[in-house]
Symmetry: C2
């Protein structure tokens, strides 16, 4: 479909410590949100964009490319984008974040 531009290696990748790579990726704008919106059901590119406050397609595509390279997200023809097995394991961490947020900021 598209060109095969490969996204840049993330900053933390030079340290050899997996957590640094992960923190770098999740620290990019929209990455966490994308994973969050993909919990549950798969979404098409456009549907995902809509859920993410109409994030620009440039950025969305860039993030999805990275997430696919890291095997956190997959694309299936017909259904669209969905979390991979590994991605679903991260999902539970996101749910923990949600729990935390509700507990501490419920009143905002």
């Amino acid at each position: 479909m598209g060109k095969k531009t490969v996204s840049q290696p993330v900053r933390g990748s030079t340290t050899g410590r997996p957590i640094m790579v992960l923190l770098d990726i999740l620290g990019q704008r929209w990455t966490l949100r994308i994973l969050w919106e993909l919990r549950g059901e798969p979404l098409s590119f456009r549907a995902l964009r809509q859920r993410c406050d109409q994030v620009s397609p440039t950025v969305l595509n860039d993030r999805l490319k990275t997430l696919r390279e890291l095997d956190l997200v997959q694309r299936e023809d017909g259904t669209g984008y969905r979390l991979s097995q590994a991605g679903e394991e991260l999902e539970s961490t996101l749910l923990a974040l949600n729990h935390w947020a509700e507990k501490h900021w419920a009143g905002r």
Copy 2:
């Protein structure tokens, strides 16, 4: 000490959903890393900067300001910056991320 510039309200704050606020904050570059480096012991501004690959002081200060406003981080004279009670609860989530990263990317 400094000026009293107040950091902008985060994007997700308009939705009223705490998780959106949290995802926005954690999705800003360096925020996750800062929290990660503050696990365990408190660090001075400069020590923290060093641990975060010499992130520019501008950004570090900005993030710390936000994190303090949200009561995730506190500053104590003498010791420096440290996680608040609430921050320490998030810490366990970060440890989960670490666990995940080690499991899935140990071979990188």
